[in-house]
């Protein structure tokens, strides 16, 4: 068993290598030139451009640059072209925001999805079930940024209920969870909404299937209360299908953070990645995408591990 998990972890290494190579290649294939960030491109002449390129190490052979980038990330010495801050520091500064919004969003979505999904399954075709169907279609077909813009328009601009931007009160740089809470409400809701809808849908189907199983009929037959049947027999069996979905939402949250953080002015990983990509700040993009890749791979490992916990049949000998 432990050999199996060790193998899974080792498999991640070539995967990360492939991801880093792919990102590196995509960045370099994208037209554009980081030296235009550091000078006014309109007035940049060829010699000045060459000097800046050379000061950024962009005139070295690509393999050298690749190795230097990876080594720089590993040692924390890699610096942003634009701000010259170490990219690892930038990542570290941005992580708490993304993690807070992402984790709270997933937690909320999981809770809401399970509750709504199982409630809908017990009354198939009922009002809640039909409402859920509509909500799911909406959540899946309306892009996050539209939902976010609507939320901003209503809650911040129209009703002045919640702040529209930032992670803490304007002008404050101290960390204070209470003061930050109102700033997190909209981003967390917007993050949670599509995930909750998807989870609810999965839960509804899984619970629906489980409800039709013979052991459920047996449980009813031996006189167990509806609530007990649901919790002990149905939900537990349905959970396995749901867990597999939870595992897939890590990349969804990370991808969504790009939009959520940009719209709500949150200083998170998604936002710095977008900025860096637009400005061809290669070191920052490399650092944040590799970090995201590690996160996604780790989330998958954890998901597989949790399978075993929820369903002993899947445990590996």
């Amino acid at each position: 068993m432990s050999r199996y998990w060790l193998g899974r972890v080792l498999q991640a290494i070539p995967l990360l290598f492939a991801v880093s190579l792919a990102v590196f290649a995509v960045l370099r294939l994208a037209p554009g030139d980081p030296s235009t960030l550091l000078a006014d491109p309109a007035y940049l002449n060829e010699q000045q451009r060459a000097e800046i390129q050379s000061s950024l190490g962009l005139d070295d052979p690509l393999p050298v640059q690749y190795v230097r980038t990876i080594a720089g990330i590993a040692t924390g010495q890699l610096r942003s072209f634009r701000t010259t801050e170490p990219t690892v520091t930038m990542l570290g500064n941005a992580l708490p925001t993304t993690a807070a919004v992402g984790l709270m969003g997933v937690a909320l979505a999981t809770f809401a999805g399970l509750v709504l999904g199982s409630a809908a399954a017990t009354r198939p075709g009922g009002r809640l079930d039909r409402g859920l169907g509509l909500a799911v279609v909406t959540a899946i077909s309306v892009p996050t940024f539209v939902i976010a813009l609507f939320a901003l328009r209503l809650f911040a601009e129209q009703w002045h209920l919640l702040p529209a931007s930032g992670i803490r009160p304007i002008g404050s740089s101290a960390f204070d969870p209470l003061a930050s809470a109102p700033h997190l409400v909209l981003p967390v809701l917007v993050t949670a909404f599509p995930i909750a809808a998807i989870l609810a849908r999965y839960t509804r189907d899984a619970v629906g299937e489980a409800l039709a199983e013979e052991y459920v009929r047996t449980a009813h037959g031996k006189g167990l209360a509806e609530r007990v049947v649901l919790r002990r027999h149905v939900l537990r069996n349905a959970l396995i299908a749901v867990v597999s979905v939870v595992g897939t939402i890590t990349p969804l949250v990370l991808g969504g953070s790009v939009i959520v953080e940009s719209l709500f002015g949150l200083p998170g990983i998604g936002r710095i990645t977008v900025q860096a990509a637009l400005q061809r700040d290669y070191p920052v993009v490399m650092t944040t995408t590799l970090f995201s890749a590690v996160l996604v791979i780790a989330a998958n490992l954890v998901t597989d591990f949790i399978y075993g916990l929820v369903d002993p049949r899947i445990r590996l000998a």
């Binding site: 000097e51 634009r82 010259t84 992670i167 990370l254 939009i259």
Partner: protein, 554 residues
Amino acid sequence: MTTRLRATRRQFLGYGAALGGLWIASCVGAAPPGASTSSSGPRRGGQAVIYITHPDTLNPVISPVSTTIYNTPFFYSGLTRPADDYQPQADLAESWTASPDGKVFTFKLRQGVKFHDGQPFTADDVKFTWELISHPDNVTGRQIAGFFSRVVGAADYTAGKATEIAGIKVLDPYTVQVTLTDVYAPFLTISAGQPILPKALWKDVPVKQLAAHPASRRPVGTGPFVLDTWTANESIVMHAYEDYHLGRANLDRIVSLAVADQTTGFGLLKSGELDAMGLYSSVPIDNYEELKNDPNLEARPVPGLANMYAEFNLRNPLFQDVRVRKALSYATDRGALRNDLWRGQAQHINSPIHPAFWAANPNTTTFDNDPAKAADLFAQAGWKRGSDGILEKDGQRLRFKMQTIQRDYDVVLQEQWKKQGVDMQVERMDFGSFWAPLYLQGKTELAGLNLPFGLYLDPDYPLTGYFSSRLNRNKYKNDKIDELIPAATATLDREERRKRYFDFQETLAQDVPHLWLGVPNEIWGIRKGLVIPKKQTGYLTIRAIKDWYREGKS
């Protein structure tokens, strides 16, 4: 999306970067000033929350990019500062004299000025800063060093052949003398206006490490505000410098928010979280009506800093005939662009000199919107309508491509020109794909872009790079233009300079190597209660930061 979820978990990798493309904000430019109507006079106190795009660094000597240029005046001062008419005004220099031949400037410095860290400001700081700008290792500062290239000995210093710039002399702690190789009028505005750094703080920092030095993010200058905190992607917070040599600012505190884009910024303005936005962060034109109709907000358009234009690549035989270029100009309805595309919030000047400048001639000839003349000129040049209505000459159709980074006027031009029998294809590109690989290589046909202008304090700045035959990218060459550009900086007499610039503008207009289409306004949105003096441009508005104030109670 559900099916993708089932399919594979890993395909979402890099999803983020792809979505980033959504967020390329469209930029809108600026318009004319009006009169102030505040009843109560300036009072001291209060704060302003503003949105101007954050810089990458607050070290002005290494960064000639616009975000640095308009973020540093909060913290730094130069020897001179611009008056509303762009005449140089006393700042760290109390006064100056020019030698009769115009090549030697002697600056008398203000005494008793202290940097934010308490160190006294002296002539050594001036020489040090100007040499730092021109230092051989300061590769990102080369464009700023260009403003000092006419100082005697500067070229040798930048080339590493000298240990100092011989032409910059510290005569005593409060007198600096600069000797130039030629008369260069922008020296008093642009060069002498460069922010001065404290020598004591920077003298031991290797020039290659200037950018990474903490003080590049924590500026120490002599400007009206002192930095409190700069939290990346969040805010820059600053407070008024009590000992500011031009008088303490009215506001106690300024918070400059990092805002993702202008649409988000406008939302913040509406929700009351922002007090002002505008400089390089114009209120989107789509929100202009809403801004105007909001009783709590003031809409203030000023002329923007981008002159939208199309540039003919004269390597292309199609464009070598001036009659064709002129005909295309006549085929262009700039009024429609202004009114429909820019909703009236733009102005057309047939010139690359910013309308706020004393050198701009609003009456430069324009060949605008005259279909009959367009048709006539095409005919003179030998182009006749073919069976499908497209102009033809010797079996060749008048068909070309416009590679453009402007995603607004391109299709309007296409439509307008089609009526005249011109078949233009539009290829929209992002800046990175367009600029270095195509435009700088001279590989565009018709280039759609904008001329950034009006940010520097002298009309000379964009001219050499864009219009001299030595540096331009479209192969345009007119000896008179090549003479007029340097001639216009070779006298300190502003009237004489104006004449040369007028001549330059008219000569260029007659050659039509470019089609100037319009300067969209930069629209400031200001929450009532914050009073911001009216200035000709957004940049001058920022330069007046010390005079901003809050009405009534804070």
